[in-house]
Symmetry: C2
Subunit: 344 residues, 2 copies
């Protein structure tokens, strides 16, 4: 029948005060336990931990952030003008990898999408105001203004893929695009193909440039003449891949292999080849890039280059955290791997 003092305590979320009272120590001691436990006697630490368990205390991040100036969260920022990236299954894998890598550090990930110039301005402003401690930036195109602005505002930023056309040195993690292309073209050569065409990515993206460079290197090494009629640029979309393959096929009907710089474009190319009556791989061998779900879904299944997305995301998070911790920005390049399936 008594109005138990517990009632009020139970209703409110327990604060550091409640824990301190429960443990018979001061706020300061509880705070020290919460932040690493230095300069705390074993007895006090144990009492505090027991009190935390008993009260179900969870630190109020807002109060903490208010004083530390840190938010305890990170952003995954996408600055693609088009919807291309969402058509791309790689995005999934990368996002999930980053989310989980950060989760082990108890850092929630905020997903932000800034497609239009207007949105980019708003989000740059938002982030610069200190709402997140760091940014994982996915933006393939040349000279992204968002990256520059964030770095200039002193926000730790890690890019996915090699940055192009930036004045500032940007931390980044990327797969070895050039070597991946080399592996694929070598594979096609080893299978006896000699008239190898390529559908590149957009040439204002590192993937576009580097994979083309790898392709050219291997052909040159093999003593084959450089021939621009075998090269056509795509835009990483299925339709773009189809259009490029179509142009290539018209120009060079004698094509016996095709290295396409993404699996999605390769799907488009496969459809074009089928319509043109070419058998794959008998008449034309096709190699993709990414090893995305699109590669397994195609008929025939695509021979492709696997990008180590799990390692990429893990490294991005590692580099970001070390940058937040005050270290200098760094770059990481990870190896790629040839995956043999039916198309080549």
């Amino acid at each position: 029948m008594s109005v138990s003092p517990n009632n009020a305590t139970r209703r409110r979320r327990p604060t550091i005060h409640d824990v301190a009272r429960e443990a018979g120590v001061s706020r300061g001691t509880v705070s020290r336990v919460l932040n690493g436990g230095h300069y705390v006697s074993p007895a006090a630490a144990e009492a505090v931990n027991a009190a935390i368990r008993r009260t179900g205390y969870v630190v109020n991040r807002h109060a903490r952030s208010l004083i530390t100036g840190r938010s305890g969260s990170a952003a995954f920022l996408l600055t693609e003008p088009q919807e291309k990236f969402f058509e791309d299954p790689n995005f999934n894998v990368l996002l999930r990898g980053c989310t989980q890598a950060l989760a082990t550090h108890d850092i929630p990930l905020l997903l932000m999408i800034a497609g239009t110039r207007e949105e980019q301005r708003r989000i740059t402003r938002y982030i610069s105001a200190g709402h997140v401690d760091g940014v994982l930036l996915v933006s393939s195109h040349t000279g992204d203004p968002v990256a520059e602005a964030l770095v200039h505002a002193g926000i730790p930023v890690v890019m996915c893929g090699q940055p192009m056309g930036h004045s500032t040195r940007l931390a980044h993690v990327a797969a070895d695009d050039r070597d991946g292309a080399r592996q694929m073209v070598r594979h096609l050569l080893a299978a006896g193909r000699r008239r190898i065409g390529t559908v590149t990515g957009p040439l204002d993206t590192p993937g576009g440039v580097e994979r083309l460079a790898g392709y050219r290197e291997v052909l040159a090494d093999a003593g084959l003449p450089a021939d621009d009629s075998l090269v056509e640029a795509g835009d990483y979309s299925r339709d773009g891949g189809a259009a490029a393959a179509s142009a290539l096929l018209t120009r060079r009907p004698d094509l016996d292999a095709l290295f396409v710089a993404s699996d999605l474009m390769a799907q488009g190319a496969l459809a074009v080849l089928e319509r043109a009556g070419r058998r794959v791989p008998a008449d034309v061998a096709v190699g993709g890039f990414d090893d995305s779900t699109a590669a397994v879904g195609s008929r025939p299944a695509l021979t492709t280059i696997r990008q180590p997305w799990d390692r990429i995301s893990a490294e991005m998070v590692r580099v970001l955290l070390s940058q937040i911790g005050g270290e200098d920005s760094s770059a990481v390049i990870l190896p790629t791997e040839l995956i043999r399936r039916e198309s080549a």
Copy 2:
């Protein structure tokens, strides 16, 4: 040569104090302008807005949250035990839609993934502690404990898809699965097919149950006998679809159509049919569900049922916001649409 007071002011992020001083009013007045501008004279409001522009002031969300108890953010929570969801391109579309719908309200979206039981506990605790104002929950399976726990903790929750096996009434937004299935099966009947098999989704998911129900309804209406040898359960994965189609084909080699409850499973089924020497759609017509990117990528392109993902995400956000605003939870069912392509 003078030590300008501006120096200190410029270095620090401007606070509400700075704005008040700059505008020649008190903190209270600035705060009122920030929160709707009631009980503020036009002159004061204008002075404050000018001061905000001049100082580049951005409200400190942590300070605000500390007192209001609101975080100003929402979570997109995925509680799938397997990686299935990430294989599914629908996820992309839904996530993007929600992010953008919330962005127009200036609410950042936190992406959270709780695959294991352990992660679910941690995230439930995190969210219950008040770190987000509401949750968009994607979880297809029966009786998700996370949903129950969150609702019990008083957190606004909106589910994607119809909840199954829950004691509490849950707000949700879903596509009309049953009617979608009806449309597809009617389409197959209209094309003259009579031995129509189906690969269902898992029967502990609403999509599995409802689409099967729609299939059965139409067959019954057409006077065809119910025949369980034409029904096989899949698991929404490509491999699962292949296995189910394979079983169905062994049991009923006379099959002339197949309604598969997801595009991804339909891809698996197409591969099986091809290997079995069946032509699609000549021998066996195939209908999918989702209208995901997988539908366009298949050979032949899949006839399928489009789920209105853009509307689903917009509605989820609308319902969540109204729930955060104190209104009662509600349910929304949105219509689906038949998309005719080559496979049926």
